[in-house]
């Protein structure tokens, strides 16, 4: 579909939007109830990450660091800093789980995580996530695999109604909730792994960041393997299906690249109808929202159909947004991805680049409206366009965790928001042009 440039060829990132693999790991652990993510690295690694997610979600974030310093980095193979961290965390907050994830610093040292973990008797999951490899999506996916690999107990039974849902990292908490409710309305029980929908959904909690305050429970993760189906959502988490199937080969794996827009949601519904054996009986609200999405598509097609977009996001997120926009004729002039991914080739765009915002800035003649993280706001200002905020990080807005773009319902709201933004932009342009004409006529 798209022409994809997989490598930038530049020796640096200028105005980067890429986020690191350990950051993705942190976020995944925050989707486990009463978990303390423990980043194995210098104190700054955790601090940068904590500050970012705190500001993004407007929520206190539970995260600790093994606080590796220059001396420890040389003398310690990881045993001291991890064991000491686990002890200190355990004494203070008694988590259900400690989620150890590495960084470039500790990977360069070459610490033997598996060996260290074997010496620890508190519940712990470890994952190798050097930050000089991969990115947010892979950190999330690797951690999800680690959770299942290290916690889930093998099983040979199947609960025909049970579905394990594995969302990609760019789904907002409310999107995971909407998806679970949607699937459950077809008669299934859903366990999402990780599950940010009850931890980072902007709810007022009692305790402040001492631990993650919601998410899938450790007990639930242990018992995942009796699910009839594992549904992976997003190319980055597709391998998680296989990980779970290792615990029980009878589990069936169904993968969706996204469930955005009419066709994306239709595909999910078709599968749910078939799998649930409901035939054509479906929850009335599903039918209603499909009609609303159809109407939204018509109401927004004229505006979006004449708009050329720059999308800036993680690969799976790019694929979702592009699908929605393409259904109403939006032209994806340029999609800028944080990292490479096989999904990039499937995006219907004039050009897909693994790159940075400098690349986007250079090509500003190609697009009208930008959808991306808060850094694209300044970009938009520089190139006299408008930006709609999506993706990590977003320090400019509140309520991000409750923004839903998927399924029929979210798809309708997404189109409305984009169409309205595009129209507002065009009106400002028309206003500006008319002011110019006025000045000319007066002169």
């Amino acid at each position: 579909m798209a022409e994809v440039r997989h490598k930038s060829g530049k020796p640096l990132q200028v105005n980067p939007h890429k986020l690191s693999q350990p950051m993705g790991a942190t976020l995944a652990f925050l989707g486990v109830d009463r978990c303390m993510p423990l980043m194995h690295g210098g104190q700054g690694c955790a601090s940068f990450t904590k500050v970012m997610f705190t500001r993004h979600f407007c929520e206190p974030i539970a995260l600790q660091t093994t606080a590796v310093n220059d001396v420890i980095a040389v003398l310690d193979g990881g045993d001291y800093s991890i064991l000491e961290s686990v002890k200190n965390i355990h004494d203070k907050v008694a988590p259900e789980l400690i989620g150890v994830h590495t960084t470039g610093l500790t990977e360069t040292k070459g610490d033997d995580l598996r060996g260290i973990a074997s010496k620890i008797d508190v519940p712990l999951v470890y994952v190798n996530t050097p930050d000089y490899q991969g990115g947010l999506e892979s950190g999330w996916a690797l951690t999800t695999q680690a959770l299942i690999d290290q916690l889930t107990e093998p099983c040979d039974r199947i609960d025909a109604q049970k579905i394990v849902l594995v969302p990609h990292v760019s789904l907002q908490p409310i999107e995971v909730e909407k998806l679970r409710d949607f699937i459950e309305s077809f008669g299934f029980k859903v366990v999402a792994v990780p599950d940010l929908s009850s931890s980072l959904d902007n709810h007022l909690g009692e305790k402040q960041a001492s631990l993650s305050s919601g998410g899938v429970t450790v007990a639930e993760v242990k018992q995942l393997a009796d699910a009839a189906f594992v549904v992976t959502l997003g190319a980055s988490v597709k391998p998680v299906g296989t990980t779970l199937q290792k615990k029980n080969p009878a589990i069936q794996h169904r993968h969706f690249d996204h469930v955005n827009g009419l066709q994306g949601t239709d595909a999910l519904v078709a599968w749910l109808l078939e799998t649930s054996g409901r035939g054509d009986r479906l929850p009335p609200v599903v039918e209603r929202w499909r009609k609303r999405l159809q109407d939204a598509m018509l109401d927004s097609h004229f505006s979006i159909g004449q708009t050329r977009f720059l999308l800036v996001a993680e690969p799976d997120h790019l694929a979702s947004m592009a699908a929605s926009l393409r259904e109403v004729g939006g032209k994806i002039a340029l999609a800028i991805s944080t990292v490479d991914s096989p999904i990039l080739g499937d995006i219907e765009a004039d050009q897909v680049i693994v790159g940075d915002l400098e690349d986007a800035e250079k090509m500003h003649d190609a697009y009208d409206l930008i959808i991306g993280n808060f850094h694209t706001e300044a970009l938009a200002h520089r190139v006299a366009k408008k930006a709609v905020m999506r993706g990590f990080p977003n320090y400019e807005e509140v309520g991000i965790a409750l923004k839903n773009d998927l399924l029929y319902e979210g798809g309708a709201y997404f189109l409305f928001e984009i169409a309205n933004a595009a129209e507002r932009m065009r009106e400002e342009q028309v206003h500006h042009e008319r002011e110019q004409i006025k000045l000319q006529r007066i002169a």
């Binding site: 990132q13 200028v14 700054g44 955790a46 500001r55 590796v68 850094h375």
Partner: protein
Amino acid sequence: MSSKPKIKELLAESACEHNKGKKGSCNAPTPGATTGGCALDGAQIALFPFADAAHLIHGPMSCVGGAWETRLTPTSWSGRDLTQTGFATDISNNDVIFSGEKKLAAAIDHIVTNYAPEAVFVYSTCVPAMTGDDIDAVCKQRSEKHGIPCVPVHAPGFVGAKNLGSRIAGEAVLKHLIGTKEPEETTPFDINLIGEHNNTGELWRYRHLLEELGIRVLSTFSGDGRIASIRTAHRAKLNVIVCAKSLVSMTRKMQEQYGIPWISCSFYGKTDTSKSILAIAEALGDADLIERTRALIAREEARLEEKLVPYREIFAGKKAVLNTGGNKAWSIASALQDLGIEVVATSVRKSTEADKAKAREYLGENAILMTSPATQQAKVIDDTGAHLLLAGGRSLYTAIKKRIAFTDVNQEKKKSYGGYDGLLVLAEDLKNSLQNPVFELVDRKAPWQK
């Protein structure tokens, strides 16, 4: 991994070159119980306000990912604002295995070609520090090639906390920039502002007053700063440290090397702003200047007082608990007192002995100096009948539980509370907090709760 031997060399080198200011690993952070940024963070905070210089992080995305374009240190530099432009080498597997020096050199070339900065700061990070990239050599070579300073900043995160990074940044500037250029002219009233980052434009709240008095800000480290100016900083008559203990070592060295005396100032609140402006005039030692300064202070205070009238009634009898770190423990307290708010307690958890003494001096003998504010502040609010809690976002819930007003002192750093005019902004924010019903409402019992 083959890089291991190199690490030891580097650390040995790093120890003799940069570890002077550091208290050593006996003071290492506690694993699993540490908060706060690292040396890299501190170095960035100290140097990023130079908007005419590029700031290149030689490291992976964790070190920069969420941390560019977030610092609200505005500039009047007319070129592209490089403070708001993120540069990172984004080192990959390959760079770890085979060295990232070539990539770093190419990155500097890219920046110089495309952004024409006045200087390039190159920040080392933990991974290249361990793998042993010779950043000094790359910088030296690129400086020569491009004819602009490329300044290595050796503050990889694992060497320590923010303060250390700030100090390392100061030393890098001292070594590579200060004294490398002569000013076009000098005046008897040339000063440097050290540690003023112009956060949210705070410098702009008082610089015009100094200028009105004929005091010239020769250079700043580094708020609204210019590379060309900081290179001439050795010709100043006075160094003024603005709320930045960690930079005393820098001004001491400037005193040793260039004979520049220094004083420490705060520009929060009316009292301290007046005191500071006068202190600068006095340090410059010109009788006429001192007289003009007194007149200006009188004029500004009168103007301010008039504007504060509508707030006086709102704040009368109001008590505040202050939970914030370092010198803010007393500097913001002073501003609150200027507004007629009684500060009944302040946090001294991370304060130096000097800060503690200052806090006691400002707050009086009945005030509570909290050493463990997180656990203390709820009780302190009960005991003192405080109406207002000023603290970081986490303490919001204490305020709600106590149903008193809350103001986030770290309010995303969007507002400037410095100088005389900043006090008005603080007054407005505090008024809004005190009058906001949300703190009582949020704790309201749900209909299903008994």
